[in-house]
Symmetry: C2
Subunit: 242 residues, 2 copies
């Protein structure tokens, strides 16, 4: 039986090189957009609308519908929005049945790039097992699309890519089809016993530490806290439970 | 004392993100362009002219000067050229004092991207120690620029980047200033005892194996075979001995 391909796209700037439109794309922005999305759905959010710009998000502000507006730029919440990009706000607030409009520096941008030609789901360490199982049930090639940081490579998204590559290879249904997938797999193997320590000197962990949101980093590096699979349908993320 | 920064640019498509024009850029295309350049100079070549296109290279064909023309596309020599991209041809032929005009799929393209705004030198495993020493003698930031494969990430160039990052950090003069440098360093640590084995499933090693040039791969993965530092002066690569 022909094995399915797994590829890893390390930053949005490289995504145009991945022309295979039949692949499912798993968008990942571990710190923190896609982690926040997983937590939002776990805590009862009904739909999310990932938009690329703050301006687009603000268009929802004066709508009749009761949207929650979440916006982050450069690691900080944007003024006049309800939420920033922290996953932990969804634990404290009653968000059941709500629709969240979200824009972030990297993650929502990656989703909007990928959705033009591909089916898109959202991955994070928080739903790692669930998304691996969900993918294995489809007979499709996979592109793991790291949101990175302003088009540059980042470690944390690549580690998640490595974790997912490793799990998918263990099913024997897949083959790693590019060097980036192999590199990610090796980096995951090296880091999995102490993700937080491995990321000690990473650029984004340091960026968040300066903003005093180190507890978000700990939170986002926990494995398998939810079975929710945020799946893009048109402009909306909705859940597809495993 | 302020430490010098080391950054790693994983593919040409990302190079525009590295705007610091004061950095020295080390271009690397281990399999095989920059390895061939190191060998060419070790064997007496006087100058090399790296050009981006086959058409540009052909313009030198009917010149009065006695150029050697070397061209590779997709791993294969281009018809009607003297040489392809194999480093080993420079061992068998008398190339002393000659000027080589070279165009390759990735390496010469990367050199021509970098030269617009940066000082450029050429690195490979063959001149690893020499280039680390040469850089350490300058008080400059460093960008290690992996040529990749058609704008995608590749393993072998990243392993060289990791080797060079590791050596530079050991001098205590430098700090790794991006996640890509950290990832490269970890991958080098994982692979250094068996580079050939580590690259067993890499895309480019497999590409070259299909062309029956596995001996070139072995050749290019040897460390420290030369002290030559190919350095770009205008449009010419010349040597700067350590």
């Amino acid at each position: 039986m022909k094995k399915r391909n797994i590829q890893v796209c390390m930053t949005p700037k490289l995504f145009s090189l991945y022309a295979d439109k039949k692949s499912i794309v798993v968008v990942v922005d571990v710190l923190r957009a896609t982690s926040s999305m997983c937590v939002a759905f776990e805590n009862g959010v009904k739909r999310m609308i990932p938009v690329s710009t703050v301006e687009e998000a603000l268009e929802y502000k004066n709508s009749d519908e009761d949207y929650i507006l979440a916006a982050e730029r450069n690691g900080k919440p944007v003024k006049s929005f309800d939420f920033g990009n922290s996953p932990q706000v969804y634990l404290d607030m009653d968000v059941k049945g709500k629709t969240v409009v979200m824009t972030t520096t990297n993650g929502t941008k990656a989703i909007n790039i990928a959705k033009k030609d591909h089916e898109v789901v959202v991955g994070s360490f928080l739903n790692l097992d669930a998304i691996a199982k969900w993918l294995a049930d489809k007979d499709r090639d996979v592109i793991i699309f790291c949101a990175g940081w302003k088009d540059k490579f980042n470690l944390e998204d690549t580690l998640f890519a490595g974790a997912l590559v490793t799990q998918l290879l263990e099913t024997s249904l897949y083959q790693d089809a590019c060097d980036a997938a192999q590199a990610a797999k090796f980096l995951w193997g090296r880091s999995k016993d102490d993700l937080y320590g491995f990321l000690e000197n990473s650029s984004h962990r340091n960026r968040l530490a300066k903003l005093n949101i180190d507890s978000d980093v700990h939170f986002c590096l926990k494995l398998n806290q939810t079975h929710k699979i945020p799946l893009l349908k048109g402009d909306f993320l909705v859940i597809d439970d495993v």
